[in-house]
Symmetry: none
Subunit: 137 residues, 2 copies
DNA sequence: ATTGACATTTGCCAAATGGCGAATTACAAT
DNA sequence: ATTGTAATTCGCCATTTGGCAAATGTCAAT
């Protein structure tokens, strides 16, 4: 990525690094990313991958999600929601159901969801006559 | 990276895509990622960038952070997965499964467990009636 | 079997990421 | 100023990502 139009990310990262304070080389050795690369990221000549972003997050005092949001990797409203009942489902998964299901392989779990969706569409009525005529007999 | 086969991510993505259901081309056009690339990701020949992961999240019914966790981009709340593909325990309740199921009333959740146990017992006793050819025509 | 319509995979390529070492720039303390 | 040393930037290159188009696979309907 060349001269990112709106790369405050680099400035933010540099500011944070300076204020910690760390040099590029120190951050590089802590985060295991080359200092030259970090330098290019700070001045907007390169864009950090998720892996690099993740590695420099803690040394700079960022949360990973926070930094991912700054980088535009995560949508603003889609942070990790630790708050209960925040636009999520008001219903919840029955604990015993969760426990039983958790003992099955993930493929089985997903297959179960597949069966559920079939049952729901059947219950809703035969809704796909226009496209895919079911060989009923 | 060549055929990083130990990565479940591809499997998970494919399972989810199939169960939605979507074809590679449909997902490609919805998510604006080429179908060939998506195919390679699913079979582990390529590793998705954050940008791609972000684009395919919603069409597949994942939260972005959920998917980032699966890809190893975000650490799970406890434990550290430094390499992508690790840190995914196969014997846990899949987050997307939990989410979908949590939207159903508890009676439905329990009914699903009932169906699961019936299916398992059928699968166990499948050889008791080996003489039952299904008339499939 | 043949056709046709999709779906998936493969070959090839452009662009981007990221490391290493050399060059350059601060910035001390003589 | 000049020397020394640490910090930053630059040049070059390997590796990876991701797209396009062609090849291949799949499957239902002739």
């Amino acid at each position: 990525m060349v001269t990112n139009n709106e790369s405050n990310l680099g400035r933010i990262l540099k500011q944070q690094r300076i204020s910690v304070p760390l040099t590029l080389q120190e951050l590089a050795s802590i985060a295991r990313v080359s200092s030259s690369h970090l330098g290019r990221i700070e001045r907007g000549e390169r864009f950090p991958s998720a892996r690099v972003l993740r590695r420099i997050a803690k040394p700079l005092g960022f949360n990973e999600d926070e930094l991912f949001m700054l980088a535009g990797f995560l949508s603003p409203q889609d942070g990790v929601a630790d708050e209960p009942g925040k636009g999520y489902n008001q219903r919840q998964l029955d604990p015993s159901v969760a426990k039983i299901l958790a003992e099955e392989p993930v493929e089985v779990q997903r297959a179960i969801i597949g069966i559920l969706s079939i049952l729901k569409s059947v219950a809703r009525g035969i809704d796909k006559e226009k496209e895919e005529p079911q060989p009923l007999k």
